[in-house]
């Protein structure tokens, strides 16, 4: 039976203990289209996709493939039905080679039931060439960058030749160039008559590729319409349930002394001769493409990675050695781009996470004053608007935006003067993003110096007083707010220097 509708979700509900994650969701995916699913974190997008992929079973409702109801038992069953999913979290074996990972679980066998390595590498090589990827099939995954791995994951999913392919925020870790490649791939898939279900926060992307848009909010379906009938503001309004007035709450805060001054900062083979400064009350941006060395500079400054040259002055005092503890004591802190790895202890409580960096504040004669700690943390969480059922809740149970607020709350306890914020709004929803912007402004007003590293140019243009652009481990340009232009930044970022 041939219909125009490839996949239909009808009245799907799913509850977890105490919570209704999905409440009677229905939508239809047309053959050969890209269907974008958007909504804030916790809106139920991922849960819905996991139901389609057979990881979860719905409590009620049904899924129709080509008009026929199907019961999807597990991801393997889903794959046999032609449904393939690219996960937000990467699922690879770091010690294995590219080829072994591509064929993970379905390695070609020779007649003695041994893995046919030659065949596997040959096929991978062919696939790499066809998709225009430059790395060797023999490379171990651990040697590849996050964006390379993400591309691999995408290619792997596509190589199964699926009829429906689900992409859960596939662009959160890849470069602009690769995004173009991904979009080409999506177009190609559509031409083959496959459907793409695309989950994303990024408005510019959504409107470039979407044929239809379904918006979820709090586990309910708010709207499902052709993309041509929607625009960015309206979509955001549907997502958050209210119109976002000010996307960026930037204001002109009076600037003070230079709080962080970095001169000729270098690390062999990583970045070279980095010079920049931040004044009190200033928000400075680091722009650049992925791999330009922005994160590396920030990590080295914070003392997480080694550096081998240059001078760093914090509040005018020269630092002899860069160590995490020394920096925290001097009032310089870093918010990592990878908050789950470097920001949080996921299995411990909100309370313990927030007080972690400044426990000594609550220690009297070697004893931790838990009452005082609790009060301080509760106050900090209230100020940060952390949404949690209690301070004992483990951080892993919180949504991305709330986790980021917990990390921020932790650093606020230290009361720092300089904040290095690496991708502070990555993977968090629109509402929480706005809260973080407001917080940044509030900190600037208090005379703090802020550095924001971001891959989202609109965010940098919207929030910063000055932007430095990095390219291949060097600062290739500096722009003040009056000079801001996305084109100019791109030129600096790709090193074509048309100043």
């Amino acid at each position: 039976m041939q219909t125009d509708i490839k996949l239909e979700v009808r009245n799907i509900s799913k509850s977890f203990p105490g919570v209704k994650a999905l409440d009677h969701i229905s939508f239809k995916v047309r053959r050969g289209t890209t269907h974008v699913l958007c909504g804030e974190n916790g809106a139920g997008k991922s849960t819905l996709m996991k139901i389609i992929n057979g990881i979860y079973k719905p409590d009620e409702g049904e899924i129709l493939l080509d008009g026929q109801p199907v019961k999807i038992d597990n991801p393997i069953h889903a794959r046999s039905l032609g449904i393939s999913m690219i996960f937000q979290e990467l699922s690879f074996v770091p010690e294995m080679t590219v080829a072994e990972n591509i064929f993970l679980g379905r390695w070609p066998m020779d007649r003695f039931r041994r893995v046919d390595k030659a065949e596997m590498f040959r096929q991978t090589q062919a696939l790499m060439e066809r998709e225009g990827l430059h790395y060797s099939p023999y490379e171990q995954l651990k040697n590849l960058s996050v964006s390379d791995i993400q591309m691999l994951e995408i290619i792997k999913a596509v190589s199964n030749n699926p009829r429906i392919i689900i992409m859960d925020e596939p662009t959160s870790a890849i470069t602009d160039k690769e995004i173009e490649k991904l979009f080409d791939m999506i177009r190609m898939l559509k031409e083959r008559g496959a459907c793409v279900i695309y989950i994303s926060h990024k408005m510019d992307e959504i409107f470039r590729i979407a044929d239809d848009i379904t918006v979820l909010r709090d586990g309910t379906m708010v709207d499902s319409r052709p993309a041509s009938e929607l625009d960015v503001d309206e979509t955001i309004a549907l997502m958050v349930g209210r119109r976002m007035e000010n996307k960026y709450p930037w204001e002109d805060v009076p600037k003070g002394d230079v709080l962080l001054d970095v001169k000729h900062f270098s690390s062999a083979g990583v970045f070279n001769d980095i010079n920049f400064h931040i004044r009190a009350g200033e928000i400075v941006g680091f722009a650049g493409l992925m791999g330009a060395g922005r994160t590396e500079v920030v990590r080295a400054l914070f003392g997480l990675d080694p550096s081998d040259g240059g001078e760093v002055f914090i509040k005018g005092r020269k630092k002899q050695r860069l160590t995490v503890q020394g920096n925290i004591a001097d009032g310089l802190v870093m918010l990592s781009e990878d908050r789950r790895r470097y920001g949080l202890v996921p299995i411990r409580s909100v309370l313990e996470n927030v007080s972690l960096a400044n426990l000594k504040k609550f220690i009297y004669k070697g004893r931790l004053h838990r009452r005082e700690e609790r009060d301080a943390v509760a106050e900090q969480c209230r100020r940060m608007n952390v949404k949690t059922s209690s301070l004992e809740t483990t951080v892993e149970a919180l949504s991305g935006g709330n986790q980021q607020k917990v990390v921020l709350a932790k650093w606020m306890e230290v009361d720092p003067d300089v904040l290095l914020m690496d991708e502070p709004t990555r993977g968090i929803d629109v509402g929480a993003k706005f809260e973080i912007y407001k917080l940044m402004i509030a900190l600037a007003r208090k005379g703090k110096a802020l550095l924001m590293v971001s891959s989202e140019l609109p965010e940098l243009l919207g929030m910063c007083d000055r932007i430095y652009v990095l390219c291949q481990g060097r600062i290739t340009g500096e722009l003040s707010r009056e000079q801001f232009s996305a084109e100019q930044i791109m030129h600096y970022a790709i090193g074509t220097d048309k100043a």
Partner: protein, 335 residues
Amino acid sequence: MQLGQGRANLWETLKSKYAIFLVLVVLFIICSLLNSNFLTWRNLTNISRQISVTTILAFGETILIISGLLDLSSGAVMAFSGTLSVMCYKAMGDTYVSMIVAILVAIAIAVFCNALNALMVTTFRAPAFIVTLAMQAMARGAALFLTAGQNVYQIGNYTVLGQGSIWIIPIPILFMIFFFLITRYILSDTRLGRSLYAIGGNEAAANASGIAVNKVKTMAYLVNGVMVGMAAVLFMSRVNAGLPNGAIGYETEALTTAIIGGTSFTGGIGTAGGTIVGAFIIGFLNNIMNLTSVNSYIQQIIKGAIIALAVMYDIYAKNQRTRKKMGNIEDKAKK
């Protein structure tokens, strides 16, 4: 921040936090019903005394496992520090002073061995598993070398520590209680304790939050050393001799105790209370199996099965938490 939704999860919390305690209570009742000799003062103090040495070791292991480490050398280090302590006591004569010196010697030796463990784990980033396995071999070898493989007998009043009582409470039990309180204090009321949980939960984040990871790990081993040293004294004193071949497999018993008490092998989770409950669960089980004359080989099978169950439960509980995370429970609960 919004509080108040906590009520709904109260039962969940109770279940996860005190499940192990409920197991102990149920076991206690069953044991009391199974055999009339179980619920007597004598039998219960006996059980407590029997578990005291491994429980003290288990507190050390708890501290280590929480921070993502472990100690496989504690049995061997007990033999080494214990025999040396006994030899020291014999050489100095039967006095109180020599008793105190003997205790200090045992603790010093055990702390030294653990300092070496810590050095290898921190400076050379070697896995704790391998490092302490190596220490196990070295300490055992050292104990045997020192004594030429012979047990040291006639240890005089040294036996008081392991066999005597203060009022009606056996001394080893007092030490067990003492170390329980110390462990609980460290874990819940000190910066060290918080740092241990953070390192075991996510070492990279702990480091990036300004915690001196190596210092904390070293402290964990040193505290463990003190406990191993004291356990050694109590053990040698109880068996009336310095046994260079003694305490074999005690590290496994201690690990088992900690794991059954809810300490997560993957780090970041565990409490002193859980460990002592775990110790009594094992103690009761051993005792009731003896009282009802279960074949000792069968006893081993049962003990092994219990370890397997405890570990499976740990993983099950972790999966439950992960599933909740995927469902974004807390984010929804706010509505």
